[in-house]
């Protein structure tokens, strides 16, 4: 069970989010201010932080948390939607969600963050594949055998899993995996995606796991 530290001064919203997250199976600690956040951060998995707080504001608290524990994911929650706020928030936080939000969206983002920080030792079931997200072991459930991914295929698939449900453009994928600027017309990525599909798809001619979004890029949907 994941432990969420939630900091929110608005009691109506606070109790609602706490209730919803608890119902979804999270263990929630709700604080009304960030003064003694230090006591909690050592044994939580993620922090959800409101920006407008009495006393120390959310930005300062978030920075403090990140200084003390850089690998603790922080999701900023704010009713302030100006670009400056978002930029300031994202300069240290891992995601930024504006109010009003739908709880489904919040939970989706929490899950993405947990996966990104590999807190999630889950087995992701994607059609016939079982994926151990922490060490990226891929098992074919039909045969029971493990699928061995080589170098770049491994990183490419890991990149997809970390950005589950997100449409990734060629540029984003290339730069995320290869760490170099994408040059228009480069076929490297397409070649690697074809190899990857040959290994993981049941029918590489009709891929179901790595979806092609025409004109935009690729997506792996949970």
């Amino acid at each position: 069970m994941f432990h969420v530290l939630y900091i929110e001064d608005e009691s109506d919203i606070g109790s609602w989010v706490t209730k919803d997250l608890t119902e979804r199976g999270y263990n929630v600690t709700w604080l009304k201010s960030g003064e003694d956040v230090d006591k909690y951060i050592s044994n939580v998995d993620i922090v959800i932080l409101d920006v407008m707080l009495p006393g120390l504001d959310g930005f300062s608290i978030g920075k403090r948390i990140k200084n003390k524990k850089g690998n603790l994911p922080v999701l900023m929650l704010s009713a302030r939607t100006t670009v400056e706020d978002k930029i300031e928030g994202l300069s240290f936080a891992d995601d930024y969600l504006t109010k009003p939000f739908h709880p489904d969206e919040m939970v989706a983002r929490v899950e993405v963050l947990l996966r990104r920080f590999q807190k999630n030792d889950e087995i992701l079931e994607l059609s016939h594949l079982g994926i151990y997200t922490k060490d990226m072991k891929v098992v074919n459930n039909n045969t029971g055998g493990e699928i061995q991914l080589t170098g770049k295929q491994y990183y490419l698939f890991q990149y997809f899993i970390r950005h589950l449900n997100q449409i990734l453009t060629k540029e984003q994928l290339y730069e995320g995996v290869w760490g170099e600027t994408y040059i228009e017309g480069d076929k490297t990525l397409m070649v690697h995606i074809r190899f990857l599909r040959e290994k993981i798809e049941e029918n590489p001619a009709k891929p179901t796991i790595i979806e092609t979004i025409r004109g935009i890029g690729y997506r792996v949907k949970a």
Binding site: E10, S78, R80, T81, T82, P100, T169, I216
Partner: protein, 437 residues
């Protein structure tokens, strides 16, 4: 320093002038230079001569000769003979006929040498005496000084002029250098694109100019600072307002969500759907109103940089794709490299433009179930185009929210020196965001 040198030169000139005047005055004391005075004195002396004899005339001549060394004198007696002469160089006839005398007088009148002819004594019985002084003796004093001290004077003057030119050159070069430095310093800009203060080294006129410039810079900075504070205040105010409006919205949204989770009838479900949509509409309207206010007051920060437009549009579309997918839109994307992919725009602004346009498609053109985004290259412009098959701008809006969103698009497009146009009919809408070549 330079000014001191200029003073020095002035002093040198003054000294030369004084010396010249002094010399001239001395000369005046020594010699009578006035023709009239000489003539008068010659006549007076001649009138006073008595007991005319050769010896006496001779003595008279010698006396004058001492005073005017260059003068020559002679005496023609009553019978027309040349009786006595002193210092005469010309050949004079020993016998003076009346014709020759007349000719002589005519020749010398107003000529050179300066000649005075006068009778001796009170009557004309003793003949006449003649005084000749070369006119060159009467040169103006300066000329005389020139002939005496000419070389020294020339050297002094040349030296002085040379000194003057050198000093002037140094002086003006110094001034020019400092003015150029000043100009350069004035052109320097700080990171905030304001001019920098100048280091004032000397307290002369240029130094004072620099001082004034610094003062101006100071004032400029202060006013800029005030402006920035005002801007920040306004931004803060709007951000807080937006926050305060959104908090109750979030609560409303939370409550509707809680209600929706319970056991509810189909009717309640519908009501909740409408509530949720309205909450999102209000949220969007608040957002647009804030942006509009900031844009109208030109307080919306713009930071233009070169970005790959095709890539950017594609990434925006990637984030919007699920929303269209959910509404079961047919999505067509035809983004190809343009002639020049680099557009000088503010990515935040451009994102806002695309968001507003795509949001409008979802909200107002849902009936068409179709969206196409493509690039377009024409002779004069390149563009990206958003096409839907909705009922068109005029017919679409049972909600009027599109207006303010489009105003924001308009302001932002123009703010980034791009163009846009809308073609809308009942079969759909085509919006082009264009960059002219």
């Amino acid at each position: 320093m330079a000014i001191l040198l200029i003073f020095l030169i002035q002093i040198v000139y003054a000294t030369i002038g004084t010396v010249l005047v002094r010399i001239t005055e001395n000369t005046n004391d020594q010699e009578l230079t006035d023709y009239d005075a000489i003539e008068e004195k010659w006549q007076e002396d001649a009138n006073h001569l008595q007991n005319i004899s050769r010896v006496q005339i001779h003595q008279h001549f010698i006396k004058w000769k001492q005073q005017y060394p260059k003068a020559s004198m002679f005496w023609v007696d009553e019978s027309g003979f040349l009786a006595e002469q002193v210092g005469v160089h010309d050949d004079l006839p020993s016998e003076w006929s009346s014709t020759f005398t007349a000719k002589f007088i005519k020749k010398r009148y107003g000529g050179d040498p300066f000649t005075v002819i006068t009778f001796i004594g009170k009557n004309e019985m003793n003949g006449f005496i003649v005084l000749e002084i070369p006119r060159s003796t009467f040169q103006p004093p300066l000329q005389k000084i020139y002939s005496h001290y000419g070389d020294i004077l020339l050297i002094v003057v040349v030296l002085t002029i040379f000194l003057f030119i050198t000093i002037s050159f140094l002086f003006f070069r110094g001034i020019r250098k400092r003015l150029l430095q000043l100009q350069e310093a004035m052109m320097l800009r700080d990171v905030d694109s304001l001019p920098l203060q100048i280091d004032v080294k000397k307290n002369d006129e240029i130094g004072q100019l620099e001082e004034t410039f610094n003062q101006m810079v100071c004032e400029l900075r202060e006013s800029k600072q005030r402006e920035r504070e005002e801007e920040k205040l306004r931004r803060e105010l709007i951000a807080n307002l937006s926050h305060d409006l959104r908090t109750p919205l979030t609560k409303m949204s939370a409550q509707t969500y809680s209600i929706a989770k319970g056991n509810i009838t189909q009717e309640t479900k519908q009501a909740i759907n409408i509530l949720e949509t309205s909450i999102l509409d209000i949220d969007r309207l608040i957002e647009n109103l804030m942006s509009y206010t900031l844009l109208m007051a030109s307080k919306y920060k713009i930071e233009r940089k070169e970005i790959d437009i095709v890539r950017y549009v594609r990434e925006c579309l990637a984030s919007w794709y699920p929303a269209f997918e959910k509404q079961e839109f047919e999505i067509e994307v035809e983004l190809y490299p343009l002639e020049n992919n680099k557009w000088l725009v503010d990515p935040v602004w451009l994102g806002r433009i695309i968001d507003n346009l795509l949001q409008n498609v979802i909200r107002h053109a849902r009936s068409g179930q179709y969206i196409k985004v493509k690039t377009e290259s024409a002779d004069r412009y390149e563009a990206f185009v958003i096409i839907d098959r909705g009922k068109g701008m005029k017919n679409a809006s049972n909600e009027k929210g599109a207006g303010i969103g489009l105003s924001i698009v308009d302001m932002m497009v123009k703010g980034m020196e791009l163009e846009w146009d809308i073609e809308s009919s009942e079969h759909g809408t085509i919006i082009k965001i264009k960059k002219y070549k």
